[in-house]
Amino acid sequence: MARNKFDVDEKLKSEINFSQIKRLWSYIVKFKKSLYLAIVLMLINSVLNLLPPYLTAMVIDVCLPNKDFNLLYMLAGGIVVSEILIWINTGARAKVINKVGMGLVRDLRYDVYNHMQYLPLSYFDSRPHGKILIRVVNYINAIAHLFSDGIVDIVANLFTIVVIIVFMLFMDVKLTLVCLLAIPIFIIFILLLKSKHRKAWQTLSAKQSNLTAYISENISGMKVTQSFAREEKNYETFDSLCRENKKYWMKARYIEFAIPVTVNILSVVTVLAIYLIGASRIGTHTLTLGVLIAFASYVTRFWTPISTLANYYNQVVTCSAYIERIFETLDEPLVITDLEDATDLPEMKGNVEFDNVTFTYEEGEPNVLENVSFSVKAGESIALVGPTGAGKSTIINLLSRFYDIQGGKILIDGHDIKHATLKSLRTQMGVMLQDSFLFSGTIKENIRYGKLDATDEEIIKAAKTVCAHDFIMAMPQGYDTMINERGSSLSVGQRQLIAFARTLLSNPKILILDEATSSIDTETEILLQKGLHELLKGRTSFIVAHRLSTIKQCDCIMHIANKNISERGTHEELLEKKGAYYDLYQAQFKFLNID
């Protein structure tokens, strides 16, 4: 599997495109009414904002020369009233705009996260987790403004521009055209910069993702870092990642700063041009000075919204780099998903059949399993043995349909699991993984993960069955003891027992134990086996283990080697066969030096 690591930029699958924008739009459309309201409020606001300066001007122009006290009070009162209106308007607008922006963030995040839940294991296994995390949290947060205040601003400013152009056209068509001539120049400039500009932000977002990946992995692995006294070296790496971030940030900003600079220069140049052309036209009596001055003041006003729009454009470019990544996640194919004709598996009996199964983790790589066939009757227990990396865990992964096979069929009670809904398949299957992952929370909550509506009694019963009850009760808060992320406050053996209880609680018809008890001491293991013996009754079970005591009581032992099952049979049968299993078994005597 091609994997990404912290110092390698992730390749972007597809640049922002029209369909992405259309989909984003569908998120915004939900808040259509609020947006309209915000725009109306914005327009009212621009009118309101004109009042106080107008009233203030009247004081000097009318009130003071006329020594009119009453008018003075009235004007002051008028300003107070308009300020109160502005107050109300500002508040209302802020509420509406933020509801839109944050609502959009919330909805988009929900969809990305929800989609992520159904992505295949390979998605998570092929990149540092920090790179996934940054998309769900930071990237989405970053685009909030673009679609709330941003859109309102854009509408209000476009409106202003149109109004000004209309006014200018009424005054003088030729001068208006001169003024508008600057727009294509500006657009050409932006287009020339565009690819560099976009590239800069895209690179930066990849660098940010690298940094996050490095930080997040290093926090988790700090104990290893400290035990290997590698702090300095890691600091150097971190420092260089930060430097790289700074470098690309600066690069992006250098380009970004050039845009307002251009707007300002163009605005002054157009004003100047208007005056120069205007002067010669006054010379030819086709223009009056009054019109020229008024027109020039409109030109200045014309550029103010454009510079706001240019800022918005900068934001759009920045956010595009994030939006691309967000949609990349949303568009990530689910791979392992319910087929259209998928039906719920009926209640499982536990017959399992592999029919000529061929599998490889990645297309083009050598097969891990080739034409594997076996069938297991309900209630049987199967042990999988063989050298590490032979494919024991793979067989188990295929049963839960963590991966799809390239050839053959896997049947449960005669139903092809490929045509069953994932939920009905996995909820009836109990998998205990090699790495017993626990969530932060109480012990009780962790066991309950196996069956969400389990009562406390059921939880305790499951814990007792796997011999976890005693050590749990010895903890300060018993079942309500909080455990850390991954259960790092517990010993590995304790974690395995809790994970075991969690699996049992789900009352699976097929139970899969993948090295589930490797870190459990002999004492607990023996106790566990007694309980387990009861437990395995009526369930089909697949067990991967190295301890022969666990293995030899199984109904059938399969030795996996060379991409297939090399031997199968009961413990006794295999011993008689004197094959690989026999060697394995004999080895134990040798190692114990029992003569």
Partner: protein
Amino acid sequence: MDTLRWLSKYFKKYSILLIITIILTFGYVAFNYVHPIIIGKIVDLIQNMVETASFQIDKNQLLIYSAVILGAIIGKEACFYIKGCINEHISQNIVMQIRCELFARLEALDCRFFEKNKTGDILSRLTSDIDSVKAVLTGTVPQIVQSLSFFVIGFGIVISVSPILAIALFAVSPLVAYFAIVLGKKLKPTFIGQREAISELNSVAQENIDGNKVVKAYAREEFETEKFQKSNENYYNKHMHFVYTWVKYYPRLTFSVNLTNVVFILVGGYLTLTGHATVGQYATVNGILWCIVSPMQLLGTLLNQIQQASASTIKLRKLYDATPDIRNHKVLKRDTAIEGKITFKNVTFSYEKDRVLKSINFTANPGDTVAIIGPTGSGKSSIVNLISRFYDPREGTVYIDDINIKNIDLNTVRKSVAIAMQDIFLFSDTIANNIAYGIPTATREDIIKVAKDADAHEFISKLPDGYDTIVGERGVGLSGGQRQRISLARALLKNPSILILDDTTSAVDMETEFSIQQTLENNYKNKTTIIIAHRISSVKNADLILVMNGGHLIEWGNHNQLLNQNGYYKHVYDSQFGDFTNTGTIDVDYPNFNSFKMGGTK
């Protein structure tokens, strides 16, 4: 304000650049005045032309004016651009410095810190919290400087024109100050709330991503999305709470600021009308009023940004101030390398309240192999944690080479002790880099050698990219046994004086385990080796076997001595041995282990 003070110390380094930006700001403002003035002149020129009815414009003059305007705008924009870049340069460097300092801080913190704080929380400190400080540095600080200078100049002019009017203007300021303080106070908790909500989002999502296989195994996708949606909604609500608070208090502030205009009109107008001030003075002050009002209008936004950053800096400074319990303390200078003698003298230890080790005594001489065996949670890994000084004992002392471990340089301890941990953590990097984690300068030959010793070379060579195969986070993609062997190779490469193998071969088949043991015995004879294991086969050759139960050391001795003691060890031996004698049955007479419990669990 604390925040600004805290940040200000980072600015010291950049005083020259800061002076340059101030000069550039002045240049920018000055150039800004040129173009309206020249435009005025052009208008005069045109007016002159109209009035004299000559309709002949002085072209040379016009050319000069145009050149001046173009020069001024280019000068102005150059100032703006350079100023912006310098600002960005300074703030980016400061952000980088803070981030690196925090990272170094984290590296110095001990296990207890990482147990108490979630990964997602710490991650939020180094990412989004620092980003919000960055926003203040790039946006707010320059804005404050600019606003302040406008305000001071404006007020100065007003005083020089009319002290009475200045007092009138000043009358509003207590109100403005009051509302500003209230706004700041009310906003702060809402920002802290938002920061916490982001941390929570990070934590929940981070855990979910890490545990994605468990989620799938139990088909708990809906449950997980629902769980996350709570945090997602919480973040939304926390943000809206901020918005509501802002909406409640911010317009009051702006209103009071704008009241300045009204007060000025009333008082100024009154004073003018009653003859205490001239209309001219009134007009001048009126013209300059924006210099005073607009910085105050910005006050709300600035406060907003400052409080936002201060919510983050509170968290950042907490991380700064966190001190590890485990640190160098009266380190004794020594020139010789650690030989590897380990002594536990009356060591008692607890993670929280409950004691997990009780009066442990033992000595391992350099080159000895010590094995520790005992039930789950009996304290085996705790002993190991004390030897590499991840924790300090509550009572008693751990000695290495007869020196209290607390008096040995921490770095020396960690370099001399290598652990292959039970809880294996591999980094998402190549296998070669993972093995070379302790010795980044190791050559490929060194790496292959230890990989061979750990019996990992064969399977690594079979991987598509061999030693350059990248493993997933935490070693995803490798089996438990493969991870254990890479972790062992990583420990061996360090060439330590003390080698600790904490359940290192539990997921490896017996044959492999045996061959690893043989190699270790032959090639690493001179190292003090501590082995934690459950299989008798792994421990029986040790010079000293320690049997742990409930935090007590209940039996010790070598294999034969322990068998003769006929205690816990013998029973474990029998039960494992039972596999071979009672072929085909599992109904062995299981020993009653409970009789060996020394009340340790209570």
